[in-house]
Every structure is written in structure tokens, then in C-alpha cells.
Subunit: 267 residues, 2 copies
């Protein structure tokens, strides 16, 4: 099916998911929309997040997307169910894939989850995990310093390691988790440092990697994989500054992306 | 949805998939049917495999299954498409999940696949992998000694290691794969030995583990996860000897299973 897959996020964090999608599904074409201007969604009331998300979805519907990926934990927690019910295309969020993958790899059923305050407070991961297996013991921790760290480009090195070590201290000491879910799309950029701090015995799971695999499952299941040979031309849109968006995207993707456009939502 | 999930296999191999399904989806109830009497399916002509598989499916339909898992590589290669088209419940095979997971973990896109002669000859894994990413280089090898080894209970130890080392020699030397798919449901019982022989740099993927995760994805997507609190009572059926089946199941599951019945198909 020669139509693009839509990816929405409150800003640039979802680019980690987009990158993984492009790697695992190299024949597919993606159109990404980051609501950078109104980012972050985390502290906003539910109704506002729902409205903003619908505005993004309506824009992508004009692009004739064949599937929608909500690459934002907050938006997933608040809108996944209604988007699934109301859209006539498959819809996937980032929370369930991360939860499912943790269930696959955890041996002792002690699973750690880190994310923004909003995501941790929503208990979306705890609910997703225990919905499948009520015996799972969840240790959830919000890590407010991580997003600023990533947005400053401090992925590794002494400063990053110091912040990560200090923030994860309660997670490291208070229990015996064998699996840690990175429940925020910014965190995969810190994965190396987080792994170093937590130690090699802990399996660290990036929701983005798992989401890409589930997108593949659903596309395949619905017979919507692209079967032709045209090279994909991905498109990126932001509600903020296109140059700033491109700079961040370039750092994260490690290659120059083109087709970045600025759009206006909600006016 | 309080209906069981059906699992079919040509014999006992699919028990490795069933075990993983029960681990990852502990609230769900399973009904397993192994066509032990007519096992193996590998060397049989396609039409026969299709007929036998449909006979199994019809039996499980009487059990009101809400989803079907084809836990057999040969049956998946020959019947997945038509079962998906003709049944009104979700259907999943073992090949696509293994392929998809390999695509997720492989960094150099050199992927090894081992299986029975039938599976390797069918090129089902190569097709599944290259369907998603045409740049993947596949090294496929049939390993005829592995199934007899498993059926003798020789999972590890000197004899097992010797056979595995000798069989995998061409895979180990001729290329630089970074990922190896176990494309036969018997092979996960040899996983430890295979990993030892291949070395720690190779990621070994059990299709069964991945299949269980995809079952979870599809059940969740269709809103068919079981929501209640009754303890699951799994049922096992074989077309062969129930005691023999129970003995093998006990060794593989490492716990006593009950409810093994013998049924007759195709008369």
C-alpha cells in the first residue's frame, strides 16, 4: 500500500521512534509532525492534550496516512483508545509495546519504568503491565532532569553520567528489577549511559524499538506493507521553527534530513 | 474475552511456543493440538499439509477459540495465508515473528536461519525477511540432526555440543552474521548449546518467544485479552499416545501437565 505512515509527537522526542521505524521498515515512507510550539504536553490537562492531538491527526489525514503512530507517551496515555475507535486506520501508541517487550524479557517479573512526571503519575505503564500479568511488580520513577539533559545534547560523558547516576539511585538500590523500560521518547539517547549506571545485568528497553516492531506486525497483519520499489521520501513538519527542528533532527539522526516544513495548528 | 487461544502443531515441537505463550500471557487459557500420529509434516506434499492443518483447525473451532496460533513452521509456510483469509478469528504463524525480531536486532543485516530441510527449502524465512528489507543478506542452513537430538532429550552436554558444533560449522565460518533465527520449534531446547557454539556476539532468536509477543499485540489490538480472574485451565490434545505426549510435555515444561486427551482426525 503506497501511502505514508503518520508519526505524531509533542515535539522532537518522537524522532527516536521515527528513526527506529525507518530502520526496521526501510521501504515505508513516513510523515512526521512534532508540535514543538506547544511542547511539552506532560503538564497540560487531559482535554488540552486530546484537542492538540486531534489537530495533529487531522493534518496527517490530509496526507492520506495508512497508519498512525503516537510517538508520545502523554498523548498515548490520553488518546490511544479514542483514536483507535474513531479512525478507520490502525493506530499504535508507545506504551503497550514497551510493556509487552518487558514482559517478554523479564525473568523475575520485577520491572522498572522511568519517564516524565506526567507519564509516571498516569500509571499507564503499570496498568499496561499488570493488565497482561497481575503478578508483575513495578518500580516507577520519574526522572525530570533527563529531558533537559538530552535537549542540551549531553548524551554521555561525566556530566551526563553524574546526573543519570544520581537520578537513578532509588531505582538501583531499592529493589531487584531485571528489566528497565525507558518510558519517554527522549531517553533512548541516554541509553548507553543508563545501561552503564544500571549495570549489565539489567535489560534496558527502548519503547521506540518495540513500537517499530509492533507497527510492522500490524501493517503486515492488515496487508498494508508497501510492496513496490520507489525510494521513500520522508517528510517532517513542526509547529515551531523549521531550522531549529532540522538541527536537532540532524544531531539525532546523524544524517541530514530534508523536507522540514512549518505548519500552524489550532488557529 | 473468555475463550481459549488455539495452538496447533504437527507434534510436540509447538509446546515450546505454548510454554512461552503461557509465560507471557498468564491470564489466557490455551488449547493445544499436536498431530503426533502424522508427524513430521516437513517431508509431506503441500496439499496434504493443508488438509491435515484444516482438520486440526476444525477440531479447535469446536472449542470456540478466539485466536489461532500455527506453532509449526511447515504448516505456517503452507497455510497461513488461506487460514487468515478464511477464518473469522485472528491467525498467527511462527515465521513472520522470528523474521521481524531478527530485523529489529541485527545491525549488519546479515542474518542466519536454521530449520528443517522443508522449512529451509521453502525459503519462507528469506522471503519474510526480504519482503520487509530487500537489503538483508540471509544465510540459511538446514540442520537435520537437531530434531532427533531434541527428541532423545539431549539438550546439552558433550554429545549435544559435538553434534551442534559439527552441524553449524558452515554457518560459523562462511560469513559474518550477527543474528541467528531458530526456525524450528524444537530448536529452543538446544538454545544454550547453540549460543555456546556460535559465541556471545551472535544474538539467537527463538521464533516461539517472538510469536508469543505478536499474539499479545494482536489480542490487545482486537480487544480480545481476557479481563477476568478465573485461573486458566489449559487443555492438550494429541492424535497419538496421550501418555507419551504427557511425558515429553513434562520434560519440556518442567512441570506436570494435566488434561491430555487423544483424538482422531481424518477418519
Amino acid at each position: 500500500m503506497d501511502q505514508p505512515i503518520g508519526v505524531i509527537d509533542s515535539g522532537v522526542g518522537g524522532l527516536t521512534v521515527a528513526k527506529e521505524l525507518m530502520r526496521q521498515l526501510p521501504k515505508e515512507e513516513f510523515v512526521y509532525l512534532g508540535d514543538t510550539k506547544r511542547c511539552p504536553y506532560g503538564p497540560r490537562p487531559k482535554e488540552e492534550v486530546v484537542n492538540f492531538t486531534w489537530e495533529m491527526v487531522r493534518f496527517l489525514q490530509l496526507k492520506k496516512i495508512k497508519m498512525l503512530v503516537i510517538a508520545c507517551n502523554t498523548a498515548t496515555a490520553f488518546t490511544l483508545q479514542q483514536l483507535k475507535e474513531q479512525l478507520d486506520i490502525p493506530v499504535i501508541g508507545v506504551i503497550q509495546p514497551g510493556a509487552r517487550s518487558a514482559i517478554k524479557v523479564s525473568k523475575n517479573l520485577h520491572i522498572g519504568v522511568i519517564g516524565t512526571e506526567g507519564t509516571i503519575k498516569s500509571k499507564a505503564y503499570t496498568n499496561a503491565l499488570q493488565h497482561i500479568n497481575p503478578d508483575i511488580w513495578v518500580n516507577a520513577l520519574s526522572c525530570p532532569p533527563f529531558v533537559p539533559l538530552v535537549e542540551q545534547g549531553l548524551f554521555r560523558g561525566d556530566k551526563a553520567e553524574h546526573v543519570v547516576r544520581e537520578t537513578l539511585e532509588p531505582m538501583k538500590n531499592a529493589n531487584h528489577i531485571d528489566t528497565l523500560i525507558l518510558g519517554c521518547t527522549h531517553y533512548p539517547l541516554l541509553k548507553e549511559t543508563i545501561q552503564k549506571v544500571m549495570g549489565d545485568d539489567i535489560t534496558v528497553i527502548s519503547s521506540g524499538d518495540e513500537t517499530a516492531q509492533e507497527v510492522s506486525v500490524i501493517l503486515d497483519y492488515y496487508g498494508r506493507l508497501y510492496e513496490g520499489n520507489r525510494p521513500p521520501r520522508h517528510k517532517f513538519y513542526t509547529t515551531g521553527d523549521a531550522n531549529l527542528f532540522r538541527d536537532i533532527a540532524d544531531t539525532w539522526f546523524e544524517e541530514r534530513i530534508s523536507h522540514v516544513g512549518t505548519i500552524t495548528l489550532g488557529d
